[in-house]
Amino acid sequence: MNRKELYILAIITFLTVCAWIIFGFLHAKKASTIDDKNLINIVPLTPTFDNEIIMELEQRGNF
């Protein structure tokens, strides 16, 4: 292996390691750390009831 081949190998190794670091960085930045149990728990809740229906039911006759 002459000096040029060694030099090319060093560049390829360096670029591969750089790419690996960048992909690892992006993956770590994107991957969510919240587990499924918490995701289910934080589903928004609508805190209102349909009062119009209740009022309408109150006006109906109970026989």
């Binding site: 000096r3 040029k4 060694l6 030099y7 060093a10 560049i11 190794t13 360096f14 591969t16 390691v17 750089c18 690996w20 670091i21 690892g24 960085f25 770590a28 930045k29 991957a31 969510s32 750390t33 919240i34 918490n38 728990n41 934080i42 928004p44 809740l45 609508t46 805190p47 209102t48 009831f49 009062n51 209740i54 039911l57 109150e58 109906r60 006759g61 109970n62 026989f63």
Partner: protein
């Protein structure tokens, strides 16, 4: 003696071996760059990458936990609002159960129809309900229904009032069709009505 030890060390031997090669400027440059790139690759792989990933993961985790905390606080706020809203309608919850019972409860339905008929001087001749399960249906949170057919006799005003009361009764009823015919000749003013409709329940 100390100098001999240094001379015999691996580092000294390596330096001695490399020294003639580095005399050429071009070779020295190639050697330096190659060694630098290999060193960066080595440290990048075993030092920089794990450190960087740990740092990014921790920052991401902190952000996610902050967001989770805000979401939980919002949800707790929603629960408190829902609780106060529920307290306002607590007494009316039983109306919902009566309007849309958990079971088919067709005896209670028939009783309502009968009471309304007595109230409006309307005579029920025939009342037929399609097959409906008495026990709890496996289809939970799904609106179920049963059909009914009723044949009755009465004057037009009584019949009209009866049907209005049926539609406006607490138990949900929908009427699909009405079939009128005269009963006992046109002079008597008595009508026979055949009603096809549905009532609902939600297990």
């Amino acid at each position: 003696m100390f100098t001999d030890i240094i001379k015999n060390t691996l580092l000294h031997k390596t330096r001695k071996g490399i020294k003639p090669v580095l005399k050429n400027t071009k070779t020295a440059s190639y050697f330096t760059i190659t060694l630098t790139l290999f060193s960066l690759s080595f440290f990048g792989l075993f030092a920089i990458r794990p450190t960087l990933l740990t740092a990014v993961s921790l920052i991401k985790e902190v952000n996610d936990l902050n967001k989770l905390s805000i979401d939980y606080e919002n949800k707790i706020g929603n629960f408190i609002t829902a609780q106060s809203e529920y307290e306002k309608i607590r007494n009316s919850i039983s109306l919902i159960d009566k309007a849309l019972p958990q079971y088919s409860e067709f005896p209670a339905f028939v009783k309502i129809m009968e009471n309304l008929a007595v109230k409006n001087s309307f005579i029920i001749n025939q009342f037929q309900i399609d097959a409906a399960p008495i026990s709890l249906s496996p289809d939970k949170d799904k609106l179920n229904q049963f059909n009914f057919i009723m044949v009755g006799i009465g004057s037009y005003p009584n019949m009209r009032q009866y049907l209005e009361d049926v539609v406006n009764s607490l138990r949900l009823v929908s009427i699909d069709s009405l079939d009128f015919s005269s009963e006992g000749g046109t002079v008597a003013g008595i009508l026979r009505v055949s009603v096809k409709g549905k009532s609902y329940y939600e297990p």
